[in-house]
Point group: C2
Chain length 130, copies 2
DNA sequence: GTATTTGCAAAATCTTTGCAACCCT
DNA sequence: AGGGTTGCAAAGATTTTGCAAATAC
């Protein structure tokens, strides 16, 4: 099988995802880590985001405007996605609701993602002036 | 502005989405409607799915395995996505929970999507035998 | 008659992958 | 040495878009 060795680049990707709250895209992670690792390739970022997601160390928040977003915060929470700017913000969820949802008649449930869509404060302000 | 005229193809796409429960991709809609409209182009399907989504007549269920899935059922419900086969199934949600969620401190919420991930019955059975 | 809609094909994006070189154990 | 990891670039896949012809009103 694959995946097991230590890797500076992968560790950096994981650390970055745990640090930030912006739910980045692969591209964002790449350009951010290039500051420290100028030779980091975009392919490596994609590969490691996959590996880390598969290992359960990070999770995917889904696709926003054509690009997948990732989250290093594994605690139970939902997300607010702004249609205007694409920002993804954390939303606290009442625990009990999720517990109830995980009883599905369709199969074995391994995860629940709650996504709210709308306009964030900043974009609401922008849209007022013509 | 755009969007307003009657169109046989668009009506057919809307009707199909309202009829089926499989939460189709653009490609599936295309190949399905080709049986009735052999000259229907994939571009037209993409364009109309966009138009219909924008008009609020259908909604996007999000991207599954790289392809966007659509839903003609606008009633409040969640979705169960099977990691094995990509099937998307409707899930009933307790109404009250959603009401509570739409009070977000992040902006104006226009929609909530609950997505559960896991293995459907059929795929659970498959995975048992080596 | 004018503006929308469509087919077709090219273009644009995002993501994956093959391969040789490299690094870690 | 042996196998995972990376850079690079090419390939893949999905979705978008430009344009002329067809269509609706």
């Amino acid at each position: 099988m694959s995946a097991a060795r230590k890797s500076v680049k992968r560790d950096a990707i994981l650390a970055l995802l745990r640090d930030v709250h912006c739910h980045p895209t692969a591209e964002w992670v790449h350009s951010e880590l290039r500051k420290t690792y100028p030779d980091l390739s975009l392919g490596t970022v994609y590969r490691n985001l996959r590996v880390l997601t598969g290992a359960g160390l990070i999770r995917s928040v889904g696709v926003v405007d054509g690009q997948e977003r990732f989250d290093g915060d594994l605690s139970a929470h939902g997300h607010f996605v702004c249609k205007g700017c694409g920002a993804v913000l954390d939303v606290a969820l009442p625990e009990m609701d999720l517990e109830r949802l995980t009883d599905g008649p369709h199969g074995h449930v391994t995860g629940v993602e709650v996504r709210m869509t709308g306009l964030c404060r900043a974009c609401m302000d922008k849209d007022i002036q013509p």
